[in-house]
């Protein structure tokens, strides 16, 4: 990694030095935007703190793209306020938005590289827009291509690059003008899982090395899990839940969050789920969600000592999110003794676990 990359908003440009800058890079207040009869944004309020990675997740059509485009004025809200570094941008005209947009880098799902320009000219374009001298532009482009590991492709055209390489160029271009904020619009959605991981690792690196604030939107919980500090879940133009990633993962409150988490959290195996009955049977299946203290303690062995009687671990595991253990366990308790079951549930709940009786199976698995 290159050491010459200076932090965003560094003192090189005195107009960017803001000693009174608030800690919130972005503050949204009650943003609303309608397209015909559908509300793309239906009262969104949100802050993005300096240096953090905020992930916004939602299904397609939830209003994510509209939201992220409101931050650099590509989209205008019908009502509500958008503050960027403490400055309200809603009343700015197109001409006044242009210098502001140079403070905000953006990367895209389909990369949006100019096919007629070489990689280095693509990276240098934001500086050309700022009318910087050519030598400075090319030097900065070289620095950034070094940062994203594509120095040898400087003279190549985008057509010869792979998807992951194109996104690296997109990231380098977004960083060229030393932005205070990076917007990522589904930046990994067109990439395969391995490339996705390397791009996310690069974004995390940039966040740590440069202290760059990142706001990303995605429909993949895996992206949130890998790099976000905080997450906001958006559905039908509203934020249905937000908080630190590990806590939302450990304790999802809304149905939509649970459904989005479904892809990466342990699920009851389908063939077992199909056999679940509401009435009592040979075994009872429990879902136990644990996080923090409960997940790092010897919960199951303590349970075996405290409540005599058999139980089996059917499925599950403990994951680590932001260094916090978060897990889901599926237990099977044999017999139809309601008392025994109640003891187990009471014990687990006393240890801060969330317990749900999923149903019963007639025959042991």
């Amino acid at each position: 990694m290159n050491q010459h990359i200076s932090a965003p908003g560094d003192a090189a440009d005195p107009t960017h030095a803001r000693p009174d800058a608030p800690q919130d890079v972005v503050r949204l207040v009650d943003l609303k935007r309608r397209f015909g009869v559908t509300a793309a944004l239906d009262g969104i309020s949100l802050t993005v703190r300096k240096g953090e990675i905020l992930g916004i997740i939602g299904r397609s059509g939830a209003g994510k793209s509209t939201l992220i485009r409101c931050l650099n004025g590509l989209e205008r809200p019908d009502s509500g306020e958008v503050f960027i570094e403490g400055r309200e941008i809603g009343r700015l005209g197109e001409r006044d938005l242009q210098p502001l947009r140079r403070r905000i880098g953006m990367i895209f799902q389909h990369f949006n590289l100019l096919s007629a320009k070489t990689v280095e000219d693509n990276v240098a374009l934001p500086l050309k827009i700022e009318r910087r001298p050519k030598a400075e532009r090319l030097q900065r482009a070289a620095e950034l291509l070094d940062l994203v590991g594509l120095s040898e492709k400087a003279k190549a055209y985008p057509v010869s690059l792979s998807g992951g390489q194109k996104q690296r160029v997109g990231i380098a271009r977004a960083l060229a003008a030393r932005p205070a904020l990076l917007l990522s619009d589904e930046a990994t959605s067109a990439l395969d899982p391995e490339t996705t991981r390397s791009i996310l690792a690069l974004l995390k690196d940039i966040n740590r090395q440069l202290g760059l604030t990142i706001l990303l939107i995605t429909h993949e919980m895996e992206v949130i899990r890998s790099i976000a500090d905080r997450v906001a879940v958006i559905d039908a133009g509203r934020i249905v839940e937000q908080g630190p990633v590990w806590s939302v993962f450990a304790n999802p409150r809304s149905e939509i969050t649970r459904s989005l988490l479904g892809a990466i959290r342990p699920q009851l195996p389908a063939e077992l789920a199909a056999r679940l009955l509401p009435a009592a049977g040979a075994e009872t299946i429990l879902r136990v969600d644990v996080a923090g203290e409960a997940a790092s303690s010897p919960l199951l062995s303590d349970l075996a000592i405290a409540v005599p009687g058999a139980f089996r671990l059917v499925h599950g595991g403990i994951d680590h999110i932001q260094q916090q253990p978060v897990g889901t366990l599926f237990l099977s308790v044999p017999g139809s003794d309601a008392n025994h079951l109640a003891h187990i549930i009471t014990f687990l709940k006393a240890r801060q676990a969330r317990v749900e009786v999923l149903g019963h199976v007639a025959h042991p698995v």
Binding site: L74, F108, H110, L114, A116, K117, L125, I129, S160, A177
Partner: protein
């Protein structure tokens, strides 16, 4: 073919090349900005103005729907105003240019419209203004189509310049009608056709080569 006819042929070639090149250049200089204006002013364009867009579209359609031979005659007063005479090669350049400009504007419009909207959005997100978008995105990205369209326009102009013989413009078409057709000089007719084929093929070949060199889209 007699030496006199051969000299006539050479002069006609020069006149055709002159008419095609001059009116082609004029149609490029005015047609490309017109095409840009059509794209910029349409709904969702970088300088949306539906009123301007409709007026421009109507004027272009108006000129394009008049048959060239009619335009040639109808524009005689305009030609006289600009060139000072309504007869001859230079006089023919005026109606040829006026016919080719809206034609080329539409061709340029199609190429410009094919530029991925995401690229325009990326340039806006970088803080680029309209001029940046035109100079850095629209024109460079559409350049292969702009050049290919110009090639088509030049070839069309070679054909149209033959009609300009009606106002004494000279050129290969005029030669073919007056000598090859009306005076039964079959050798002149064949020579003209061969020269025209070489001209058209040459322009098309050069245009295609240029497009291939410019196209970085990998299609």
């Amino acid at each position: 073919m007699s030496p006199i006819l051969f000299e006539l042929l050479l002069r006609s070639i020069w006149e055709t090349v002159l008419m095609t090149a001059a009116s082609g250049l004029i149609s490029l200089v005015f047609g490309l900005p017109l095409g840009l204006a059509l794209i910029a002013t349409e709904r969702g364009g970088i300088a949306e103005s539906l009123w301007v867009n409709r007026v421009l579209g109507a004027v272009i359609n108006g000129f394009r729907s008049v048959p060239f031979i009619i335009l040639l005659v109808a524009l005689i007063p305009v030609t006289r105003l600009i060139v000072g005479t309504s007869i001859g090669t230079w006089a023919a350049i005026v109606p040829l240019s006026i016919a080719a400009t809206p034609y080329y504007a539409r061709i340029a419009e199609v190429s410009l419209r094919e530029v991925d909207h995401g690229l325009i959005e990326a340039a806006r997100a970088m803080g680029g203004n309209r001029w940046t978008i035109i100079r850095e995105v629209l024109v460079p990205e559409a350049l292969p189509g702009i050049v290919a369209g110009f090639t088509v326009t030049l070839v069309t102009l070679i054909g149209a310049s033959a009609m300009a013989g009606a106002i004494g413009a000279g050129g290969l078409g005029d030669l073919a009608i007056r000598y090859g057709y009306q005076r039964f000089e079959t050798s002149v007719m064949i020579a003209v056709v061969i020269v025209l084929i070489i001209l058209v093929c040459g322009i098309q070949w050069a245009g295609d080569r240029l497009v291939a060199r410019l196209d970085r889209r990998g299609r």
